[in-house]
Amino acid sequence: MSLKITVVRSKPPTLALAGRLDTNTAPELDRELDKVLAGGRIERLVFDVASLDYLSSAGIRCFIRARKAIEPGGGKVAVVNPQPAVRKVLDIVKALPGGIFTSTAELDAYLDDMQRQVRDKD
């Protein structure tokens, strides 16, 4: 059991995580994350964790790192499709307040909404 990371360079860029995200595998995600972040300013980053079975604090750190890199600039990090156990861990440590979406549709709606706000602001 290990971690499988699929980077989807769509808009917004999405990292699909499958397997276990723990002390052993968190460095792999950190490396992918570095590559993604190095590619330029990112406004939104989505972690699709539908296939993530296990998440420990080491993994949460990755999410918080991403947030620290993106959100201060007004960006947004979102986690979508968490399994209950993963959701529970994320909730306990308040890793992504308001950034957890139970489905892609919910995320899309949120993102559309954000888009509209930005347009309105513009």
Binding site: A58, I64, V89
Partner: protein, 792 residues
């Protein structure tokens, strides 16, 4: 050998010829003996009748002889009496007349004329001159002596009283003639005016010597002895007849006379003398002579009388014996002619014995029953020889098959894993036993390590016994090895084996297989069943349960059969038991089956789950169930697999169980420890949520410890499980460090303010139901309790 000697030595008495001979003799001898007896009897009767006739003749002759004497004397004396009456001569002439009598009849010994003295008589004085012979001269004696009183004597009185001539009974004349005599007395009368008056008595004494001489001159004929005897009332006078005197010394004449009288009284003329009279059996013939009522008695020894008949009997017997001997000889040879070929046959057949059942039969074609028998025996021998040859070939064939079976059994045995195979396993102990019902069987067990620390184990039971089952089992074994080694999981493995075994399975054999793979790191079991009984799990604490799971079709039937992969976990110390139905269906003498309940109870009662002892316990109990001796009904196979990861200890406790796991201070070590803990909890039915929590808690704590101690630290996790909760006790010998006292992370800080780490301890505190820390000696001791069911 006993049969041989008996058949070869028929005792002479039992031979056919002896039996024929004895049979013939048994009939002929009585018949011949009877004929001899009757012939002899007839001869004897004839001789006896002849003897009687002789006796009659002899008696007649003797009577005639005696009559001649008697009549002469009677006539003469009566003439004298007549003359005395007619011519009344004076007394003085009486002596002259008396001498005249004596002169006339030489047999007359003496004579007298005694006068009657009475008033009517002319005589007044007794007068009785008596002349008798002595030494060739006549002597005179006067009987008229007073002392004698002749008129009182019987010879006088009988004639006077009777008035007629009378013979006296014989008497011995003592003092007179000293001889046996009879006296003839004739009265004479005188004519007077009153008629005839008794004048006296004339007598003549007859010397019985004359009788004796007459008797002696008579020939006895075939009689050896004879006697002339006086009438019974008289004194006993017996005169031997013929030459009797020479040979009658042994016989008492008086006794013979008495016996003769007794016979006459019974009108018996011819009889055997009683033995007290004659020691030698002797016939006596008795005849009554009219003359004077005398008797003639004739005796002859029976042997003498029957000499002729006896001689004939001897000759006939002799010839009879000779004839019987001739008959016996003839019969003997005739019987021998029949019996010899029989005997030869008996000897020929009797010589066959033991393994040498061939025998030589007499040649030559006979057309009788012997020939038929010989032909029959020849056919019997030939077919017997054929049978013996076939039997020998069959035995050789059997021996060859037996040898092949032994080799086959050995080969089959070699298909089973060796004990070494079990020894080389890292984290499992395995033991198995197979008791085939026959030399080779259709049961199979196998286990071997496959990729990544997995152990594959399987038990199979082919639907039959013996060679077909063994061959099918061999194919199964090979497929199991080849496909199993490729790393397929049990569901695909069984499907693959099934697809190959269905092909060309014209014999319609099938096999049930239970197959599992044990992950020797985690204790995960993945299991598939092709119609096999579910495996039993004996938990370390002693509880026994069947591993639930979906079952599939037996292998070999349906090419498209697919199998479900069942999953389960075992904790270290747990033992998995797989059996064939030879165990549960082992039948006792009374028909009762061993049964699954009994097996479950047996496993529960086992002191621990050590595979070798568990398997031995199963096999011993099954064998004992089949009444002390295993009798072949079905192959019996049992296999036990215990999960024994190295370094892990386990202990049964009153309210649960406890495992102790060393943790290598590295990412991989932590990973392995967590897998094991997860496996233990899963094996004890902890739900997936709590499994996740437990793993998370473990990872956060262990990661913290390793990070804080910097690598060189010894860590051990103790996992205690009760009904309601599980408790992790983590010990490490690193520097004193209480992670529970770390500063709390401000979860609500803005993202730019927020710390990246420090979330682990927070997670632990949140997920656990109770946490505590203590520094014990040089060890940090963290104790984390988690309820099986979350508090809310």
């Amino acid at each position: 050998m006993g049969a041989t000697s008996r058949s070869l030595s028929v005792r002479a008495f039992h031979t056919v010829r002896a039996r024929v001979l004895l049979g013939v003799l048994a009939v002929t001898i009585p018949i011949y003996a009877g004929a001899l007896y009757m012939s002899h009897e007839a001869g004897a009767r004839r001789l006896e009748a002849g003897a009687e006739r002789d006796a009659d003749e002899l008696a007649a002759r003797l009577a005639s002889e005696m009559d001649t004497v008697i009549r002469q004397i009677e006539g003469g004396i009566r003439t004298v009496a007549y003359q005395l009456e007619e011519v009344d001569s004076p007394e003085s002439q009486y002596p002259q007349r008396i001498r005249g009598i004596l002169a006339a009849w030489p047999d007359v010994y003496g004579s007298t004329i005694a006068v009657e003295v009475s008033p009517d008589s002319a005589h007044t004085e007794p007068f009785a001159p008596y002349y008798f012979r002595r030494g060739g001269n006549l002597r005179y004696s006067d009987l008229a002596k007073e002392s004698y009183a002749y008129n009182e004597q019987p010879w006088y009185r009988s004639a006077v009283d009777g008035g007629a001539p009378v013979w006296s009974a014989p008497y011995y004349d003592r003092g007179g003639g000293e001889t046996w005599m009879v006296t003839y007395s004739v009265p004479f009368f005188r004519k007077t005016d009153h008629g005839r008056v008794l004048a006296g008595v004339v007598t003549a004494d007859l010397d019985l010597g004359a009788m004796r001489r007459a008797a002696a001159s008579v020939s006895l004929g075939q009689f050896g002895m004879g006697w002339l005897a006086s009438p019974p009332a008289s004194e006993s006078f017996v005169a031997p007849i013929g030459a009797t005197a020479e040979r009658s010394a042994s016989l008492d004449e008086t006794a013979i006379r008495a016996a003769g009288e007794a016979m006459l009284e019974e009108h018996d003329n011819f009889a055997l003398l009683p033995p007290e009279v004659a020691a030698e059996p002797t016939y006596l013939a008795v005849r009554n002579l009219q003359t004077l009522q005398w008797r003639v008695m004739l005796a002859v020894p029976r042997d003498e009388l029957l000499a002729e008949a006896n001689g004939l009997l001897r000759r006939q017997t002799l010839w009879g014996v000779v004839g019987l001997l001739l008959l016996a000889t003839a019969v003997w040879f005739v019987a021998a002619g029949v019996a010899r070929p029989l005997h030869e046959l008996a000897v020929a057949v009797g010589s066959a014995s033991g393994d040498e059942l061939s025998f030589h039969l007499p040649d030559g074609a006979r057309r009788d029953e012997i020939g038929v028998l010989t032909d029959a025996l020849r056919r019997l021998r030939d077919s017997l020889e054929d049978h013996i040859r076939l039997r020998a070939e069959s035995l050789a064939e059997q021996a060859r098959l037996k040898h092949e079976l032994e080799v086959a059994a050995s080969i089959q045995q070699s298909m089973l894993p060796t004990r070494d195979a079990a020894r080389n396993l890292q984290a499992a102990e395995v033991a198995a036993a197979l008791l085939p019902a026959r030399e080779v069987g259709g049961d199979l067990y196998d286990y071997f390590a496959i990729r990544d620390g997995h152990l594959l184990f399987a038990v199979g039971d082919v639907s039959d016994k013996g060679i077909p089952a063994a061959l099918f089992m061999a194919r199964l074994s090979a497929l199991l090895r080849v496909l199993g080694a490729e790393g397929h999981l049990p569901d695909r493995l069984l499907a693959g084996i099934n697809a190959r075994l269905v092909e060309g399975n014209d014999a319609c054999m099938f096999v049930t297989v239970g197959c599992g793979v044990l992950n020797m790191s985690t204790g995960q079991i993945r299991y598939a069943s092709a119609g096999h009984e579910p495996p039993l799990l004996r938990e370390m604490e002693g509880r026994v349960r069947a591993l639930a799971g979906e079952n599939g079709a037996a292998i070999g039937i349906d090419a498209l059969a697919d199998y479900h992969l069942n999953e389960a976990f075992v904790a270290p110390g747990d033992t998995l038991v797989l059996c064939t139905d030879g165990v549960t269906e082992a039948e006792a003498e009374d028909g009762s089956l061993f049964g699954a309940e009994r097996l479950i109870a047996l496993l529960g009662e086992a002191p621990d789950g050590e595979p070798a002892s568990v398997v031995r316990r199963i096999m011993d109990t099954v064998v004992a169930h089949t009444t002390g001796g295993f009798h072949a009904t079905d192959d019996v196979t049992a296999m036990a697999v215990r999960f024994t990861p190295p370094g892990v200890e386990w202990r049964r406790e009153d309210d649960g169980a406890r495992w102790l796991l060393p943790v290598e201070p590295s990412a991989a070590g932590i990973r392995q420890a967590l897998q094991r803990v997860r496996g233990i909890l899963a094996a004890r039915d902890v739900g997936p949520d709590r499994l996740h929590d437990a793993e998370l808690i473990g990872e956060e704590l262990l990661t913290n410890i390793v990070r804080h101690a910097g690598g060189a630290v010894r860590i051990a996790v103790e996992c205690a499980l009760t009904k309601g909760e599980f408790v992790f006790t983590v010990r490490d010998d690193g520097p004193a460090f209480n992670p529970l006292e770390l500063d709390a992370v401000d979860l609500d800080a803005s993202i730019s303010q927020r710390r990246v780490g420090g979330l682990g301890v927070h997670l632990v505190k949140e997920l656990a139901d109770r946490c505590s820390y203590a520094r014990s000696g040089d060890q940090n001791v963290l104790e984390i309790s988690v309820l099986r069911a979350p508090a809310s």
